[in-house]
Symmetry: C2
Subunit: 208 residues, 2 copies
């Protein structure tokens, strides 16, 4: 069976960097935004719409207006659409994991692939570290005060948690669901990636 | 400043083995039972009595009868004694950390030494793994059924949590208090030690 690494991460923790570096160090495939692109292709829904859905718990009582749900915005229709996207996501992720060793970021992959016994990582950071890291990234480097930025980070992470908890029945970020949790406040994402690559390489050598 | 590694661990997780191996791999001092022995020497209280106290939250309404508190078993006296032992423990741990690079197991060391910015580890495991590991150790390898053994493990860990939470105002095992948390269900204590040693060695090399 392929060595699969799933990586849950707090927004602002540098988790994506950890995953990318880790995949590079190991020569593994890396899946992050590629998952959304593939779901979009298969469901014929816009990428931006899929992205919005796969990080939030379904809000069935507050229909979201998008170009893709203009025909029917009833709670039932929207819930079906959320669930269709989740099912498609599970299929895409399973296919990716079966293809080759890989690192899969977010999207309940640890739960979806539980029978393949992936190495389950969770990357997090202190609030101050997350703030500084977000200030240094292009996405959120807006001219807004710190307290507003902190609220924004908190909200994104709350949405990730609600989405994960809804579909898995587990608690996002609860260490008991993971094999290794790394706080990137003291340890840099580069160090975290090297540390984790060392573990996997050690296992590969031991198996040979 | 010395590189200090503090290691919190669930009973049954193999955390002590991780700590011991890590100290060996790094050539660091290792402190575990040595802390209790030192407190005992300084306070003139029996080691067994000190050991019993440093893993439990003070129970001031249920005086414990021991050879050392026969003169006065009032709640006030006992609480003073608990706190004296905690203060002595903090002193001993600080002295150890100032002496040389070291691995310190349990005993709120992560909190006591917070100003020295130690690398804070937490080692845990799934319930089944803890049961198997306890069956394989001498201490708890008693002829009792699994469910009783599970309750025993749970109780010991509950006491560790209550002690830690009481003296630190934090939550024992909550990942936000640690830099790396390792689940020794999939990863062996040996692998965990090697993984962590790699990180520290990388840092030492980078500093040179």
């Amino acid at each position: 069976m392929n060595q699969i690494i799933t990586l849950g991460r707090e927004f602002g923790s540098g988790g994506r960097e950890v995953g990318k570096r880790l995949a590079e160090l190991l020569g593994y495939a890396y899946y992050d935004k590629e998952i959304v692109a593939e779901i979009s292709k298969r469901t014929q829904l816009a990428e931006s719409y899929v992205r919005q859905i796969v990080e939030k718990k379904p809000h069935i009582f507050y229909p979201i207006t998008t170009g893709h749900s203009m025909h029917d915005e009833s709670p039932d229709y929207l819930l079906r659409q959320y669930n269709t996207i989740y099912a498609e996501q599970a299929k895409v992720i399973t296919e990716m994991a079966e293809k080759s060793p890989c690192v899969i970021v977010g999207r309940c992959a640890d739960y979806i692939l539980k029978d393949m016994k992936p190495l389950r990582l969770f990357i997090y950071a202190d609030d101050d570290t997350k703030l500084v890291r977000c200030r240094n990234t292009a996405d959120l480097n807006e001219n807004i005060p710190d307290n507003k930025m902190r609220r924004k980070i908190k909200k994104i992470n709350k949405n990730r948690a609600r989405y994960y908890n809804y579909y898995t029945g587990r608690n996002w970020g609860d260490r008991t669901n993971y094999d290794i949790c790394v706080n990137t406040s003291l340890i840099t994402p580069k160090e975290a990636a090297e540390l984790l690559a060392g573990l996997i390489k050690g296992r590969e050598t031991a198996e040979q």
